[in-house]
Amino acid sequence: MNKEYDVVVVGAGPGGSAVAKRCAERGLKVIMLEKRQEIGSPKRCAEGLTFSTEKIIGKIPERCIAQKINGTNVYSPSGKSVKVDFGEYGGYILERKVFDKWLAIRASRAGAHVQAKTEVVDVIKEDGYIKGVKAEFEGEEFEIRAKVVVAADGVESTIARKAGLNTTNQLINIDSGFQYEMSNLNLKDPEKIEIFMGNEVAPRGYIWIFPKGKDLANVGIGVAMSQKTARYYLDKFIEDNPEIFKDAGIIEVNSGGIPVGGFLKNMVANGLVVVGDAAHQVNPIHGGGLKEATIAGQIAGEVIAKAVKKGDVSEDSLSEYNKIWWKERGRALEKVQKLREVVEKLSDDDLNMLAETLTGDDLIEFSRGNKLFNLGKILLKNPKLITLAKKLI
């Protein structure tokens, strides 16, 4: 294995693959390391993606898509649903294991060296710069030197922190996620996503059913600061809804932490860039991070390529990434975080009231951080909610 590179990417998820591909396309010598023996596994994700994300990622091969989706039903605690219409197949449920591999394959074809089952144990720090990583392969430790290290090591990221950048997230900004892949379900409509909200069902979060076929689905939950575990609430929901789950099988079990806020003003240091879940780049209202990691990865890739070519990988030079990301994504996502902070304080009655008032288009706009003023105005009608409403106005 060659041990001198321009860039070493730690982690081969969507963020890592986006950086690796972009850097390789710009002519840099790149290596991407993945600690797991199989890229894309285990997944920690609901696997949903809107069709528009193809504008960023490129055309997604059919083999990565488990099910095409034409809409979402969002259920309030009373059972009233708000229908979000995606038009004809505006969304996909992916087969993440296949999808993540495809992303890594693209990075590899662009010229990046990809290596699974290679674990990064530490960073190399010299003269105030990160100069590479210490990695382990088949029990042997070796050094990989690089001009820039990319920490794309996921929600459990420690690389950035070992490099001296504090990326620890606050408990309040981490959702506990738990999911099953299930079979033999009695799905009402396999072309629709179903979302269930309510303080009994999923405190400060939601339960999802993402179909992956006629009778298959990724069924999961994200909750936070809850009395009981995420697993408890999901199991209870399954027990309480025998019309869907009575004869269901569990073919996979996964859990995960989902960053839902706490965006970092600074995501770089001398010779270091952080992307994806490691930098908390997730949409705080729905917890989707695929698209965010990809956008951030592409921005980071451009900035790194420029910095390496001009021979300046200092924090100052790399902070161009902070600037662009905050302008393109950070500001909007920070608004969505505010929305999340408001929504999680609403009672079941408030949620029921909103389900009567809001349309699917409203929900789409809100989830992008747009038109939150309108939601604020609706909440203002209830005197008890004035303080919350003001957060949005």
């Binding site: 420690t158 981490i174 738990f178």
Partner: protein
């Protein structure tokens, strides 16, 4: 006292993300606990999606 039930743990790393002291790491072969760094603050227990972690302050 910090304890993980390895039969419950799904190796997701949620606990690692909230640990302020880098006392936890998710390695390929499972969760690694650095006792000397742990302050028994209990954040990891609160975030664990499956209730695999138990922390008791001051008990060895």
């Amino acid at each position: 006292m910090w304890k993980v039930d390895r039969k419950k743990c799904l190796r997701c790393g949620a606990c690692v993300s909230v640990c302020p002291f880098l006392a936890l790491e998710l390695k390929e072969n499972g969760l690694v606990f650095h006792k000397e760094l742990c302050t028994e603050c209990g954040l990891c227990e609160k975030v664990c999606p499956v209730g695999a972690i138990k922390v008791k302050r001051g008990k060895k």
